[in-house]
Amino acid sequence: METTAIKQYTFKDFASDQEVRWCPGCDDYVILRSMQKALPEMGVKKEDVVFISGIGCSSRFPYYMDTYGMHGIHGRAPAIATGVKLANPNLSVWVITGDGDSLAIGGNHFIHVLRRNIDLNIILFNNEIYGLTKGQFSPTSLVGQKTKSSPYGNTQPPFSPGELALGAGARFFARVGGNTPKEMTTIFIESEKFKGTALVEILQNCVIFNDGCFTQYTDKAVREDKQLYVEHGKPMIFGKERDKGLVLNKLKLEVVTIGENGVTQEDILVHDAKDSDPTLHQMLVRLDYPLITGIIRSFDDITLGEREDDLTAAVKFNSKFKKTNDLFFSGETYEVK
C-alpha cells in the first residue's frame, strides 16, 4: 500500500481558535499543551485524530484541539469512542474524561472498554473532586475529605483508578503527575503507539476545589523522593540521591536503600511492564510510598478490532452472500404467478 508522507506538524497545528476557559493555574493547561506537543511526534495525520469527551472540566478539552472532536454526554465517552473506532479503525481516537465522568456515572463504560481492549487512548484527569458542579466529593475523594456534599467529611471509600482498571483487564496503564509535562508527553506518545486500550491517569490539581490534593507526591521539592517513575527494563530506583529502590519481600514490595544492609543495585527489581501477569503491576499501583508513575503496565494483546477483522474476513471468505439480493432470494422463497 502506498503511504503518503505525513506533514511535519508543530504544536500550533493542534490548537483550535477557541479561547481556553479553565481556571488560571489549572493543570489542565499543562495537559493540553503536552498533548499538542505530543501529537506532532506520533506520526498521525491531523485529520485522523479524534477527541471524544464526556462532561466535566476536563471534557471541554476537545474544543481546544484543532482536530475532529465531540463533547459528548456525562460518562459515555468510552462508548462513543468505541463506535468511532469500530466505524473507522484508521482513526487515532482519544477519550478525555475525569474521575467523576469515568468512575461514577460512566463506571460501566470504563470497565467494559478496558475489558474489550479496543485500540483507544483514555486520558483520565483525576483531581479527586467534582469541579464543574463546584466541589462535591468524587469516587476518588478520600474518606474524611470535606467537600460541599460532605461538609462533615466523606464517608465513601474511594476507587483507585489503576486498581479498578487492572481488575477490569487493562493492558496499558500509566500514571503521571499533572505538573510534569515532559513525562506526560512521552506517555501520550507511548499510549498512541500501544495497540489496545491505553489508560493514562493524570494526577491533576484542582486549584479551586481541591488545591494541593497531590502535593505530597507532586511538589517539586519532594517529587523525586516520593515518586518512582518506572520505565520498562529499568531497575525501580528513586530518590534525590537515586539510592532508594524496590525489592520483593515475600508478597510485599519493600523500599530498600542501596548500600545499606548489603543491598546493591542488582538486588533492585527491574520493571517489566510487558508481563501478561498483572500481579506485580497491581502491587505497584497500590503503593503509596513511593507513588509509582510512568507506564506501569503495557502488555501487548490482541485488540477487539483485530478479533473483529479476523472474524469478518473469515465470514466474508466463506459466505455466498455478496449483495443483499443474494440473501433476500436465498432459502425458502416461492413464486406467485
Binding site: 491531523k46 475532529y68 472532536g69 466505524a87 460501566n108 425458502e332 406467485v336
Partner: protein, 626 residues
C-alpha cells in the same frame, strides 16, 4: 370415552373448500408450538395462501411444565383471500395439555374443532391447570367438536423401532404428530417440513428419522381413523405475481437496514443491548458480517446508542435497537444526537409498559416517549411500520430520512408485527429509492459544520479522516454559523427554532395521507403503526357490508404529520382514533388540530384489536347519523 359418538362421520375423501381458517397451536413452552405453527404457515404460504401469524409465548423461558402461565401458543391465519391479521376467533385449536385448553378455549368458535392430546390429561396436569374435573369427561366441552388423540402414546408407538432415542427426544417429537394431523385435515403436503427437518438436524440422523416418522404417523392417523369429519382446503390467494418469502417483522426491519446500507454505499453499524422483543433484530444483523455489518453488543442501552452516535460521527449508517425501557435509557444520548444533528435510527419495538410492564405482549404506549421523551426542545422524526413485511420499507425509509435530513429518526414497531410473519414480495435494492447523504469530501473555503441545505436545512456531514474539515461538535449550544459553543440568548432561540423547522420541513419529503375506502363521509377511522391489519380488516368488512360511508386513514408518519392531514379530517363528520394505549396519538392530533372532535377507541390488554370489537364500535357511530 367414545370419540366417535361426538363426531358426525363424513364420507372419507370429501374435501370442503374454505375461504380462510384460523388455527392455534398451544402447549407447554417446551412443546415446540412455535415451530409447529411456523411450519404450518410456511407450508401454506408456499401452497399460495396469504398468511399472517402471531406467536403468544410467556416471558419465562421454560415456565413450570403444565402451568397456566407457561402456555405457549402460535396462531396462523391462512386464506385464499387477502389476510391482514392473524385472526381473532379460532377454527381449530390444537391443545397439547390441559393448561393450553383452559387458557385458549375462549377463542374457539362454538361448534368448531379442538384436538387434544389425551395422554397429557393426567390428574397432575389437570390440577396444575386448575381443573376440578376433567373437561373431556364432564360435558363442559359439549359445544365443540373434540378430537381426542393419545398423541404421546402414538408417538412412542411410531418410534418403537428407532434406535438411539432417549425418552425425552421421543416425547418432544409429538408436536410433529399434531402437525401431521393438521396437514391431513387441511390438505397440505409434508415435503416442506420434511426438508426442514433434514436441514435442521443434519448431524442427527436419528432425530431426522424420528421427526419424519412421527409427522407421517400423525398424517396417516388422521386419514385412516376417520376421526376427522372433513378435510378442508384453502385454495391459493390472488396475490401480485413475483417472488415471495415469509418474513417476520424483526427480520424485515433488519433487512431494510441492510438494503439502505447497500443503496447508500455506507457501512452499517448497530449498537445494541438485548431486550425483548427487539433482540431478534440484533440476532439477524450479527449474522451479516459478509456485508460488512458492524453489530456491536454493548454493555448497556446507553452504550448501545452512544456507540451508534460515535459511528454516525465517523460516517457510518448508524442504528440502535431497543424496546420501551431501553428508549427511556437512551433518552439523553438521543438528545445529543439531535443536538449535534447526526443521522441515527433508533428502533423501538414497543411492548406493554410502563416500567418492565408486559415484555412479551404488544402495546403502542411509547408514542409520547418517542415524541417528547427528552430534555429540552428536542424534536426528532418519528415514523411507524404497520405490517410485518413493511417493517422492511420503514427501516429503509428511516435510514433515508436520517441521512438526508441529518437527524435522529425513531422507528416504532411493536411486538405484534415484530414477531408476526407474513408473505413479503421480495424487494431488490435496485427498485428502492435513492438515498443521498450530506457528506463533504473536499476542503471548502470557510467550511462550517453547521452550514445547511437551504431547502431541507440539513447540515453538512464532515467525517473524521477528511483533511481540512476538522471541527468539534457537542451537546452545548452552538453558534449558528461556526458551530462553536455559544451562550448568546438570541442564538439559542434561533437554533432551537431551526432544529424544529428542519423536522417540520420533512413534510415536503413524505407522502400525503390518504383514506382507504370512503374518501369522505360519516366516519374516518384513524390508526397508526402495527394496528393496520386489524383496522383495515374491520373497515373493509363494514364497507363490504354496505357501510360505504366509512373511511380509513393509517398513519406511518407521526412527526412530522403529513401535510394534508387536516384536509382529510375535514372530509368526515366523525373521526375515531384507535390505539393500543390509553390515548396517545389522539392527543398529538389534538395538539395539532384543535378544531376537531376526536373520538377514541383504546385497548390496553397487551393484545391486538379484535375484529368484532372494532366493527361493533364503528357500526354504532355510523348508525346514529343515519
Amino acid at each position: 370415552m367414545n370419540v366417535e359418538n361426538k363426531i358426525a362421520k363424513n364420507t372419507k375423501g370429501q374435501i370442503e373448500v374454505l375461504e380462510a381458517v384460523v388455527i392455534r397451536f398451544v402447549g407447554d413452552s417446551g412443546d415446540g408450538m412455535q415451530l409447529t405453527g411456523t411450519q404450518f404457515s410456511d407450508t401454506s404460504a408456499m401452497f399460495g395462501n396469504d398468511v399472517a401469524t402471531f406467536p403468544n409465548y410467556p416471558a419465562e423461558i421454560r415456565a413450570p411444565q403444565g402451568s397456566l402461565y407457561g402456555v405457549s401458543g402460535f396462531q396462523v391465519h391462512i386464506g385464499s383471500m387477502e389476510i391482514n391479521t392473524p385472526g381473532d376467533d379460532v377454527d381449530l385449536l390444537v391443545a397439547m395439555n390441559p393448561a393450553g385448553l383452559k387458557t385458549n378455549l375462549y377463542a374457539v368458535k362454538p361448534g368448531h374443532t379442538i384436538i387434544v392430546d389425551t395422554d397429557s390429561f393426567t390428574k397432575k396436569n389437570l390440577e396444575k391447570a386448575q381443573y376440578k374435573t376433567n373437561p373431556l369427561e364432564d360435558g363442559s366441552l359439549a359445544n365443540y367438536r373434540i378430537i381426542e388423540v393419545g398423541m404421546t402414546t402414538l408417538t412412542k408407538e411410531a418410534l418403537k423401532n428407532v434406535d438411539g432415542l432417549d425418552n425425552k427426544s421421543i416425547t418432544r417429537s409429538k408436536n410433529m404428530f399434531a402437525l401431521g394431523m393438521v396437514y391431513w385435515m387441511y390438505h397440505r403436503a409434508r415435503e416442506h417440513t420434511i426438508d426442514f427437518i433434514n436441514k435442521k438436524f443434519k448431524s442427527k440422523p436419528e432425530i431426522i428419522e424420528a421427526n419424519t416418522k412421527v409427522l407421517n404417523a400423525g398424517y396417516y392417523f388422521a386419514e385412516t381413523l376417520e376421526l376427522i369429519p372433513n378435510a378442508y382446503t384453502i385454495v391459493p390467494a390472488k396475490m401480485a405475481p413475483g417472488t415471495y418469502r415469509i418474513i417476520m417483522g424483526n427480520a424485515a426491519t433488519a433487512w431494510g437496514f441492510l438494503a439502505a446500507a447497500e443503496k447508500s454505499g455506507l457501512e452499517l453499524f448497530l449498537g445494541s443491548y438485548p431486550i425483548t422483543p427487539a433482540t431478534d433484530i440484533l440476532h439477524e444483523l450479527v449474522k451479516h458480517k459478509h456485508f460488512g455489518v458492524k453489530a456491536f453488543q454493548a454493555e448497556d442501552e446507553i452504550a448501545g446508542i452512544s456507540s451508534a452516535i460515535g459511528a454516525a460521527f465517523a460516517g457510518d449508517l448508524a442504528i440502535t435497537t431497543t424496546s420501551g425501557p431501553g428508549l427511556a435509557l437512551k433518552g439523553e444520548a438521543l438528545g445529543l444526537a439531535m443536538m449535534i444533528e447526526l443521522p441515527l435510527v433508533v428502533v423501538n419495538v414497543q411492548r406493554g409498559g410502563p416500567s418492565t410492564g408486559l415484555p412479551t405482549k404488544t402495546e403502542q404506549s411509547d408514542l409520547l416517549q418517542a415524541m417528547y421523551g427528552r430534555n429540552g426542545e428536542s424534536p426528532v422524526i418519528v415514523i411507524a411500520a404497520s405490517t410485518p413485511s413493511n417493517c422492511f420499507n420503514f427501516a429503509y425509509e428511516a435510514s433515508k430520512l436520517a441521512l438526508e435530513h441529518m437527524t435522529p429518526v425513531i422507528l416504532l414497531t411493536d411486538g405484534y408485527i415484530a414477531n408476526g410473519s407474513a408473505p413479503w414480495k421480495i424487494k431488490t435494492v435496485d427498485e428502492m429509492p435513492e438515498i443521498r447523504n450530506n457528506k463533504v469530501s473536499e476542503i471548502k473555503e470557510n467550511f462550517h459544520p453547521y452550514d445547511r441545505d437551504q431547502k431541507s436545512l440539513a447540515r453538512n456531514w464532515a467525517i473524521p479522516g477528511t483533511p481540512g474539515l476538522e471541527h468539534r461538535v457537542g451537546g452545548l449550544e452552538k453558534d449558528k454559523v461556526t458551530g462553536n459553543v455559544s451562550y448568546v440568548p438570541e442564538n439559542h432561540e434561533y437554533m432551537t427554532k431551526i432544529r424544529a423547522e428542519k423536522i417540520k420541513r420533512v413534510q415536503n419529503y413524505i407522502p400525503e395521507i390518504a383514506s382507504e375506502f370512503a374518501q369522505k363521509g360519516d366516519l374516518l377511522v384513524v390508526g397508526w403503526g402495527g394496528t393496520y391489519g386489524s383496522l383495515y380488516t374491520a373497515v373493509k368488512q363494514l364497507n363490504d357490508d354496505g357501510f360505504t360511508n366509512i373511511g380509513y386513514a393509517h398513519f406511518n408518519y407521526i412527526n412530522p404529520l403529513p401535510k394534508n392531514t387536516e384536509d382529510l379530517f375535514k372530509k368526515f363528520k366523525k373521526i375515531i382514533v384507535c390505539e393500543l394505549n390509553n390515548g396517545q396519538f389522539v392527543n398529538v392530533l389534538r395538539i395539532h388540530f384543535n378544531g376537531f372532535e376526536f373520538l377514541q377507541h383504546n385497548k390496553i390488554q397487551g393484545l391486538p384489536f379484535s375484529n368484532s370489537e372494532l366493527t361493533e364500535k364503528f357500526k354504532q357511530l355510523v348508525s346514529v347519523s343515519e
